[in-house]
Subunit: 213 residues, 2 copies
DNA sequence: GTCTATACACAGATAGAC
DNA sequence: GTCTATCTGTGTATAGAC
C-alpha cells in the first residue's frame, strides 16, 4: 500500500473524528434523533465541510457500521489466531465483547425498520463485505458448536446468528445499567447467561442426577 | 357505569379507529417514522380533526400503549382466572401471546431513547397504572417460578421482567419471518425456547444421566 | 367536530466566497 | 476543504370557516 501524504493523513484523521462522533451519537440517540448538525458540532467542523467527506446522513451511518464491524472482525480474528478453544466459548467471547461495547456507549444501533436506510446499507459494498465476512466466521463456530452438541442443533444456524446480533444491541442492558444497582460485570454475566442458558433454572450438565419433578 | 349517548358512542368508535391506526403504524414503521398525516389518512379523518381528540403525537403513542397493555392485562387476567398452572407455564404463555401479537403486526414498539417521549409516557397516568399493574402480576409468577426452581433464582426478578418485555419486541422475530422459510408456529416455538432455555443444547431435566463432556 | 389552508420549526443538503 | 448563509422539503400543530 502506498504511503500517504501528509495531507491525506490529516484527511484520514478528520474523517476518523467524524465517524467516531457518529458512532457515539448512534449509540446514545439512535439514527432518527441524530442530526447532522450535532455530528458536525461534535466533530468540530462546519456542516458543509462534513458534506465534502460524506454525501449523506445515510452514508455517515454506513461508515459507523463499517467501523464497528471492523472492530468485531479484529476481535474475531484475534480469537482465531489465539489458542484453540471450544466453538461455544468463542461465541460467548464475541457476545461478551459486543455487550461490553454497548455498555461503554460505543455500539451504534440502527432501526431495522427504516427502508431507505436499509436500502442504502445494502448498496454499501464496504458494509456488506464486512457483514458477510463476520457472518461466515461466526457461522463456522455456530455449526461447530451445534455439531459438538454444545449449541442446540434443532435451531437454524441463521436464528442463532440473528440472535447474537440482536443481543449485541439488547435494550435490557441499558435498562439494567440505568437502574444503577449492579456492576457492569454482573450485568454482563447475567446477559451471557440468559442468552446461552435462558431464563430457566441451571441444570447440571454432567455427572450428577436430578430429582424428578 | 352510565350508559353512553349515541353521540358519545360514535366518538368512542372514531377514537378507537384512530388508536388502531396508530397501533399498526407504530408496529410497522416505529414512532419516529410514523407521521400524524399518515395516522389521519389511515383513520379516514382530517389531521385537524384528529388533534381535537388527541393533543399531540406523543399522546397518540400513549393511547396505543394503553391499548396494548389493556390487551396484555386481559390475557393475564384470563390466565389467572383459568385452571391453576405452574408459574413458569403462565409466563411462557404470556411471552407467546406477546410474540404472536408482534408476528401479526399488532405490537407497537417505541424507541427507549427518545427522552421527550419517555417523559410524556411517565406523566401519562393511564399508561403508568397499567404498566405497574402488569409488572406486579408478572412479578408474582416470576418470584413463584424462582421459588419452585423452574426459573433461575440467581437472576434479579427485575432482569427477568425486562427480558420478557424486550422479547415481546425482539427484532429476531421479524428477521425470521421476512426470510419466509419458516411457519409462524416454528418461529414462536424457537423463540420461546431461546428465551427460556437459551441457545445452548437442551439437557434432560430429570431421570437420565449425561455423558461427561 | 369536521374540514381546507397555513403558520412555524427544524433538519438535510447546497451555494458561493475564501 | 473550510466556512457563513441559504434553500428546500417535510412534519407538528393551529386558525378559522362551516
Amino acid at each position: 500500500m502506498a504511503r500517504l501524504s501528509y495531507r491525506e493523513q490529516v484527511l484520514r484523521l478528520r474523517e476518523d473524528a467524524i465517524v467516531q462522533a457518529v458512532n457515539r451519537l448512534l449509540a446514545t440517540k439512535g439514527y432518527d434523533l441524530m442530526t447532522v448538525d450535532e455530528v458536525a458540532a461534535e466533530a468540530g467542523i462546519a456542516k458543509a465541510s462534513l458534506y465534502k467527506h460524506f454525501t449523506s446522513k445515510e452514508e455517515l451511518a454506513g461508515a459507523a457500521m463499517v467501523r464497528v464491524l471492523d472492530r468485531a472482525l479484529a476481535f474475531v480474528d484475534g480469537l482465531r489466531a489465539g489458542p484453540p478453544a471450544a466453538a461455544l466459548d468463542q461465541l460467548k467471547a464475541v457476545a461478551r465483547w459486543a455487550m461490553e461495547t454497548q455498555l461503554q456507549g460505543d455500539m451504534p444501533s440502527l432501526p431495522a425498520q427504516n427502508s431507505t436506510l436499509s436500502a442504502s446499507l445494502q448498496a454499501n459494498e464496504a458494509y456488506m463485505d464486512r457483514l458477510f465476512d463476520l457472518s461466515n466466521k461466526l457461522g463456522i463456530w455456530i455449526t461447530g458448536a451445534q455439531t459438538d452438541g454444545s449449541l442446540n442443533p434443532a435451531l437454524p444456524a441463521e436464528l442463532v446468528l440473528y440472535t447474537l446480533f440482536a443481543r449485541a444491541c439488547d435494550p435490557v442492558l441499558g435498562l439494567l445499567k440505568s437502574s444503577g444497582q449492579y456492576t457492569n460485570e454482573q450485568i454482563l454475566d447475567w446477559l451471557i447467561t440468559t442468552c446461552f442458558d435462558g431464563l430457566g433454572a441451571p441444570v447440571p450438565r454432567s455427572g450428577s442426577r436430578m430429582k424428578a419433578g
